[in-house]
Symmetry: C2
Subunit: 161 residues, 2 copies
Amino acid sequence: MMEIRAAGPDDFDLIWPMLRDVFRAGDTYAVDPRISKAKAHAYWMTQARATYVAETDAGVVGTYYIKTNQPGGGAHICNCGYIVSPVARGQGIAAMLCAHSQDEARRLGYQAMQFNFVLASNDGAVRLWHRLGFETVGTIPDAFAHPQQGLVDAYVMYRRL
Amino acid sequence: MMEIRAAGPDDFDLIWPMLRDVFRAGDTYAVDPRISKAKAHAYWMTQARATYVAETDAGVVGTYYIKTNQPGGGAHICNCGYIVSPVARGQGIAAMLCAHSQDEARRLGYQAMQFNFVLASNDGAVRLWHRLGFETVGTIPDAFAHPQQGLVDAYVMYRRL
């Protein structure tokens, strides 16, 4: 059984190893690969409206945040980021996190969800977001210097809630 | 004659009234209309790679910033924001600021420039950016709650440098 619950301050010690591995790899998130734990905490927790963890008997296996994507007149649209532990991939956890985030975002009053920077090279994510109701509303050419693939495009993806 | 020069710390007292009026109006920038001077300083100066002012005999009539749009693998693309004083509109100052910013961005090593949130309602800006080499690479539906026009789309605009 998996439970998704709001993350408390103490959970960051469990979240950080997942973030660190993904950020250090530098091939999916537009984050400095050398980001410190303190800056990652600001990015994933302090600057978020809410942060969640997915927990199984094996421990914390995933996490996501919800943020307001733009302040002022853009504040009705949220942004989310998701990370699943490498040991827990292929079990549909990202899909469960995203479905949960859509419910939470509605509950928080958001009218739409936007991903600003989905790498075209991240086929699995692009397919999954399409399956979960997102459409590609923009394509930024050569947006990301992928460590193996060179410059790849990034998509702006969007769905109403 | 107009001169565009790097802004020093003391220039923010001249920049702030222009920012304040535009942000308070809440119809072009995705910024909290009630933003404080301190937060506007962080947004326009501290968080920018560089900030500039346009000066004529009449004083400071415009300003812009250059920022790295995304960290990590996205750091070769910059973002800029421009504001022209209401008393100086219609003189081509925004075009001069943008041309200047493209030169400065090249000098700083950026390979492209991206605007993340150009309101579809801001016809003049959209036309100007097209004229200055930007293409619309994305359209975010109902992205902005315009105080007079209700929900309007926002464009993602992009040009190589």
